[in-house]
Amino acid sequence: MTDTKVLHEYVEKLKAENSDWVTDFKDARGEVTVIVPRESIVDVCRFLKTKHVFDMLAGLNGADRGPEEDPRFEVLYHLFSTKHFNRLRLKVLLSDDDPHVLTVTTVWKTANWHERETFDMFGVIFDEHPDLRRILLPSDFDGHALRKDYPLRGFEPYSLT
């Protein structure tokens, strides 16, 4: 089990910088997850990158809690510091009727394809993304495949017998 004391310091620093930035945080199995309001995700990312050398976006993905949940969608940002070897996870919660969040391509260039994939699979719209297109599924695909209410065999015409 990794010692998360260092990671808790980052949470404190975030809180000290702006008290609105941290809605909640979790410590489970040596990993710290910070829940960030979606308005400030870009600011939080830029702060962590410039001030605390979280220079690598190791992963960005979505999660669907199910159509009956509110907030329904999660967008997860896995940050990694190549200097301190720390990992931190940021989480943004989005509701079903307004799945919009600002893009972090302005902070890390690599977020481009990650966000396209999240859009492709979950239908989360990344506002101000330079090129938000489908990346894995065919461009005429109907629906978003990893949503919980997406039927396994798909909609027409993709469900040809």
Partner: protein, 210 residues
């Protein structure tokens, strides 16, 4: 005292034979497969040509990366929806005569991948001559399929194997297999997000088998 001597003694200089028989014999003796390895079946397909199984005993060892030089397309593996238009295009680019072997459960019926991403049988996109069951099939099974195909080739007529005209072959692309033009921007995508009912029963879901 070789075979030639015996032949020349027993046979006349000129023999008559059906044109179909000669042409088909030539065709079946040198089937050039187009490589279409898509998944683990491709490993077995490679093994089929390797020293142990030696597909060249049956004249079908010359795998070609160009469809223009190939006679038989061995679809080995699962065909994804996104690969489907490419597969159809490769098939259309192959000159007549051409045949298709659907190798393995996935290419034949979708196999265990009964989902939105995989074409449920390659025969929805291209006409298939021989199906090979198995997951994956052993090299012997593929060799058997090729021998079955050779048998089929022998029973064909040259008249049935003509190149389709270009316009016709262009139109032969099955609707829904080619992707529409790119450019679904976030704007149009946002419109598409509507709360759909939990499941929509499609024709596919009414299928009895599952």
């Amino acid at each position: 005292m070789g075979l030639e001597n015996t032949l020349f003694e027993s046979l006349p200089d000129v023999i008559t034979v059906k044109l179909d028989a000669v042409v088909n014999w030539a065709r079946k003796s040198s089937l050039w497969p187009a490589t279409f390895g898509l998944a683990c079946c491709a490993i077995e397909m490679m093994n089929t040509v390797s020293a142990r199984n030696d597909l060249s005993r049956f004249g079908a060892e010359t795998f070609r990366a160009s469809p223009r030089q190939a006679d038989v397309m061995i679809v080995s593996g699962r065909v994804s929806r996104k690969m489907a238009p490419a597969l159809r295009r490769i098939y259309d680019q192959m000159p007549e005569p051409k045949w298709v072997i659907s190798m393995g459960a996935c290419a034949t019926s979708g196999g265990v991948f009964d989902n939105y991403a995989i074409v449920q049988g390659v025969d929805k996109i291209v006409p298939v001559d021989v199906y090979v069951p198995g997951c994956p099939p052993r090299p012997e099974m593929l060799i058997h399929a090729i021998m079955m195909l050779q048998e089929k080739v022998m029973n064909e007529s040259v008249r049935d194997r003509r190149d389709t005209y270009e316009t016709e072959s262009r139109q032969s692309i099955v609707p829904g297999t080619l992707p529409v033009t790119m450019g679904t921007e976030s704007e149009t995508a946002a419109k598409k997000i509507t709360n759909r009912p939990y499941t929509i029963a499609s024709r596919h879901e009414k299928r009895k088998s599952s």
